[in-house]
Amino acid sequence: MKLAEQLARFHAAMVGSAPISDAAPLLREDGVDRETRLRVYVHAYLSRIGGVLEEHYPKLRALLGDAAFRPLVRDYLRAHPPSDPSLREAGAFMPRFLFHTTPRNYLHIDLAHLERARVEAFDGPDADVLTKETVAALPPDEFPALRLALVPTAKLLLLSTDAADVWDAIEDGRVPPDGIDVRRVVLVWRRATTVLHRTLEADEASALLQTSSYSHGYEFAGVCKAFAMEPDPAARAIELLLRWLDAGILRA
């Protein structure tokens, strides 16, 4: 038998697209049942990638419980078999998979979006960060034209539930809220080796969404329009700019 056929039949049995009994005749007959030998590989495949998905979606797993999470992993792997060499990409399609799962559960989808964004923030490329010192050194007349852009590891998530509150509650060991439908913008970012997220207030969300809409950033003067309804727009703009500089989410 040709190598191509041997690998194809072994692979099909391993990933469940053919019964294990189809591949058993490929193997040498000896003291141990051939299907028992094949099951070692089937189990390793599911448990290795399942372990990574548990690590990358800890709060989704906690919310669902293992009894529901394990079948979810099995179904997900059938729909999205990994193709990337890095196991860290194995769970990349979980939010999309949940979106197409019936009945659709937006809390689960949002929780998956948040957890995937945290993984991507951890792995994302480094970038030079805009510092307070650089901003302080700018001549006042150049301030309005200062372009604000997010670093690649800072992402804004537009969620339709309070999934971030659910995440926080599970993290803190509290009973999670029910997962109400509510528009939220959540910032996910990395500082040194730690990934953080925070639900944004409406004006801050508006300003950062404006900033992230342009690949080369958006002028500070334009960003400030988001604060027009504030009692003191300039003070609010400065407050938030300092917060973003402290967080290290703006690109130099």
């Binding site: 072994f10 692979h11 005749p25 040498r28 994302g124």
Partner: protein, 275 residues
């Protein structure tokens, strides 16, 4: 043929902060290649930091050297990583992991046929051309053997290394596990390995599942594997040793203490001095 690095440890995330210290008690580290195949960020930053004080070896699990999928995409990511990190050695497994574009992330067994031998040799040459250096291939733990096999596993591995002019990463635990699973003789296996091509040794713990031993990396190294390591250290005196541990990960100091036993297995250096 390959650098002598001493006793090393598989680099795992909970130990990052210890591994970047110059005096961490470990001679060298081995990192999983694919964990650094991301856009940047922490994985590569940690490896660069480790590299400042210790030799680093890149150990892949997804090259799929015996598979049929094209190597191009993988090599396009591996080559720049090797250029950036300048690892002391680059290794992967004698297995296949991908088929039809699906990466199983599992080390699947190779039919030890003449056809597969020629196929693997051709692909190793392709990899070594792309990297501009020799790679090392590791014997995986195997749980099944193809009925069509024409060579024993040790013959196949030694022949790949000879024909492709590559190195061997001899996993002593995998020798033990595979020999137990198939009724092979571990001493015959070791003796079949060409001495000059064995660049380093792996040691790890395993567990049993019914009639089979499983390479789980979740226990300390057992006495039987240590005994085999002592033999291997005598037979391959230039080979370094690397302790692997993935699950039930102990703290760093416990692994350093376990690793010290590997140093004790080394033959006394002969520097030509006379007393």
């Amino acid at each position: 043929m390959f650098p002598q690095l001493g006793a090393g440890l598989g680099l795992r995330a909970p130990h990052f902060s210890r591994a970047i210290a110059a005096d961490c008690g470990v001679d060298w580290f081995e990192a999983i290649t694919e964990n650094a195949m991301v856009a940047g960020g922490n994985p590569r930053r940690v490896l660069r930091a480790v590299r400042e004080h210790h030799p680093l070896v890149l150990h892949g699990v997804s090259l799929s050297i015996a598979g049929l999928d094209p190597l191009d995409d993988y090599l396009a990511r591996l080559a720049p990583l090797v250029r950036e990190l300048e690892p002391a050695m680059v290794s992967d497994h004698l297995c296949w992991t991908s088929h039809g574009g699906h990466n199983t992330h599992d080390l699947l067994p190779v039919p030890y046929t003449q056809e597969a031998l020629a196929h693997v040799v051709t692909r190793v040459a392709r990899v070594q051309d792309a990297l501009g250096r020799r790679i090392l291939l590791e014997n995986p733990s195997t749980y099944a053997v193809f009925a069509d096999g024409e060579l024993a596993e040790h013959e196949f591995l030694a022949e790949v290394a000879r024909r492709a002019d590559c190195g061997i990463l001899l996993d002593v635990n995998n020798v033990y596990v595979s020999c137990a699973n198939h009724g092979w003789d571990a001493h015959t296996y070791l003796e079949a390995m060409p001495v000059e091509r064995v660049g380093y040794l792996h040691i790890a713990g395993h567990s049993s599942d019914g009639p089979l031993l499983i390479d789980t990396h979740d226990h300390a190294v057992c006495d039987e594997v240590w005994a085999l390591h002592a033999l291997a250290s005598q037979r391959f005196p230039h080979a370094s040793t690397l302790l692997e541990r993935d699950d039930n990960l102990p703290d760093f100091d416990e692994l350093v203490a376990e690793l010290a036993r590997a140093t004790g297995d080394r033959p006394a250096p002969n520097d030509g001095a006379r007393s």
